[in-house]
Each structure stands twice: as structure tokens, then as C-alpha cells.
Amino acid sequence: MPLRYGSETAEHLAVRRAAGLFDLSHMGEIAVGGPDAAAALDHALTGQLSAVAPGRARYTMMCAEDGGVVDDLVVYRTGDQEFLVVANASNTAVVGAELRRRSAGFDARIDDQTDDYALVAIQGPEAAGILAPLTDVDLSALKYYAGRRGSVAGRPAWLARTGYTGEDGFEIFSGPDDAEPIWNALASAGKAAGVVPAGLAARDTLRLEAGMPLYGNELGPDVTPYDAGLGRVVKLEKPDGFVGAAALAERATAEPRKVLTGLTLTTRRVPRHGYAVLANGRECGIVTSGASSPTLGIPIAMVYLEPAAIRDPKPALAVDIRGRAEPADPTDLPFYRRSRA
């Protein structure tokens, strides 16, 4: 996936206003199947995958014993005893190895199928209209976070209404040789509607505006889902426990060590990953992701703050942008929420 095809700002805005095409074939796909597949995933991940109906998807995480995030995942239940775990590219090998280790004693197969899949996404308000004539899947019956096996441009695919942009959209998992015809069919069918190919830079600003965390920025081994404000993905009530449950149960009730927060800035200068956040001039946190928001026209950032930094009496916040303290205002995530028709 290239950083950009043309102007990343234009690509970003096209996804917000029309649609963008993404080549996400770098993502990892790990199939988990067998009579105990659901039980094995319940044990290995923070979510309750056994409660997910076939044809539905769940955003979840794999945590270490100490509660740190190994990876954030989207898991599709592709059949009664079949799941497809989608992992970040750089974590796929670790996630696959951990799934194998954690499924010991379960009657479940773990099969890293990353090389068997290409992944094309079409995201944006026009996505459904562009895709509908090219597929036999009834998109009007396909809910958000649902998937179906079907054909796209005459090629077999797993078609899911998921994405990472804050817009309506679809992810199309196909065989590697089928991706190019699928891509070309979508590009051609979407031309009049303004669909453009979009790169990694646009993908990053889109997910940042939508308040979605990125592994390596907001998520990592020293972060728990609670720190990231994603405690909802941890199902402590699962009857048989899971890897990391004890540490996470402790974190669930403890004072958070840090809080993931949004900041907006009044300057035009851009807060970037790793810059310090100041409260009344004292360092109180760090920028994990920052950009000039193409949709809002102002600099935005996701930051981890000491909890006191957003409690009353609220201190004056600033981001240290290369030696100059630039005033910043805390704001709830996401920065951008699409208007639903």
C-alpha cells in the first residue's frame, strides 16, 4: 500500500464525500476452525466470540498475561465453527503463534492464511451504491459489522461491512488473483461518483478523525484496553476466564494510569507522535497520533494524559511543538462522526 497515490488530502476528502479504494492486502488473516474454535477464541482474546452469530464481526483484542495489548483485531464468524481473525500486518506472526499456543487442549485449527487473501476496501458514503450492482450480496440487508460469502465482480469473496475510516464501507477478502479485477471493477463503476484510490496517509488521518486507535501509536504492550478507553472489548464476565483476565480485572476497577484524550489546537503547527503534552507548563502526557485534520481544517491529536490533567480544576494544556508550547483544548473522541442518513 503506497503512502499516497496523488494528494493525500484529496484522497481523504474523497472518502468523506464520495468513496475511496484501499489495497489492504498487507493485513493478516488467520483462520480458526473446528468444534472448539469459539471456545479457543474466548480463551485467547478479550471478547466473547462464542456470542457472535455466524455472519457477524466483532472488534476485539489479544492481551498478554499482564493485560498489555498484543494486537487489536477484527474477528469475523464466517461459519458455525469457522472464524477469520484479521490482525495488523506487523503482528500477524505473533498473533498466529499465540493463537496456536493458547488453543492447546482445544479442538481447533489455527491456519495463517495471509498469503491466500488479498483485501480491497471501498469506504465512503457512495460505497454501497457503487458496490451494490457488482455483487450478489444484498447490501441493504448487510448490517454494520456483518459479513457474507458472495461474489464481487464475478469473483468469490468474503464481503464485510467494516472499515477503519469512520464512514460506511466494505472490506472485500478475496483470493490474490481476484483482487485486481475486483479493484478495477470498483474503480470503473465508481468513476462517475468520484471514487479514488487512497493510500496509507489518508487511511491514517481518516482513522484519527474517527478516533480509532492504531497499534504502535495508541495501543501496545504497555497499554491495556482500559487505558485506551476500550474497556468495552474486555468481557470479564466470560465464565471460563481468558488470557490476561486477572490483570485486566484489576485494571477495570483501579484508577486509570493514563487516559486517552483528544486535543484540538489553535495554531496551524502540527502535533506529532512523541511530542510532550504540558499541563500548566509541566509534562503530563504524550501525543500518540497527530495531524492537520483535512475535514476540520485544524490540528488534532490523540494523547495519553495523566488523569489529573483533565480533572477540575482543569489545567491549561499545551503541546510542546519543537520547543514552543502551543495551547490545546481537550475534546471527546471521535473528532468526526459521520451523519447517518
Binding site: L3, R4, S7, E8, T9, A201, T205, R268, R269, V270, R272, A291, S292, R322
Partner: protein
Amino acid sequence: MSVPAELRYTTEHEWVAVDGPTATVGITDFAARSLGDVVYVSLPAEGAAVTAEEPCGEVESTKSVSDLYSPVDGEVTDINADLEDDPGLVNADPYGAGWMFKVRLATGTGEADLPPGLLSPAEYEELTKESD
């Protein structure tokens, strides 16, 4: 990628056009393409003294921030105020509407007096090939 023949260049990817006692400065097409979409340009103040090979501003793009170096010694006489509202001019027209600032040269009144470290178009083109 364009490298106009009438300009001189720096190793930091600025271009400079000399017209009598005045030099006009911007960043090259190569730089603009490498940076991606420029979202903010911080320029030196009018009247400020600038020194060759020293930073005098910064160029922020979607993915990175770079120092802006002055190619010459002198005093800033004008800055491109249009970049405040439309920093994308740097990408759209780096050698024209995307110019950044003008300098009254401290030494002499022409090319012969320019700092010796500036590159010819051929030398600059060579540099960009090396960094590809």
C-alpha cells in the same frame, strides 16, 4: 519532476532566483513531492536577517515537518502571504505561486556574489537521483 534551468538550488531542496539585488526563495518540486501535501508554512518575518545554510522557517506536511533553510545572506523584504490560507500552493506550483520569501542580498548585486555552496540545476538533479 521539474528542475528549472534558471534557478540555483541548495542541498536542503530550496530553490533561489536572483534578480539584481533581490533573491526569491522556495522549495523544489522534488521537495514538495517528497513531503506530500503541505499544510502549514512558517516563514521568517519581514525585516528579519537570514543567513545562508541556517534555518529560518519550517514546512509542515501531512507526514512530516522540515526546516526551511535560507540559501543566501540578507534581509527579508517580502513573504508570500497567500501561503497562510493556501499552503497547498507549494505543491501545486512550487516555482511560481508557491514561492516563500524574498531577500535583499547582503553581498553584492548578482549571481557572482552568491554563496559558493549553491548547486547548479545539473548538480541538483544529480542530488535528487541519489536520494531516490
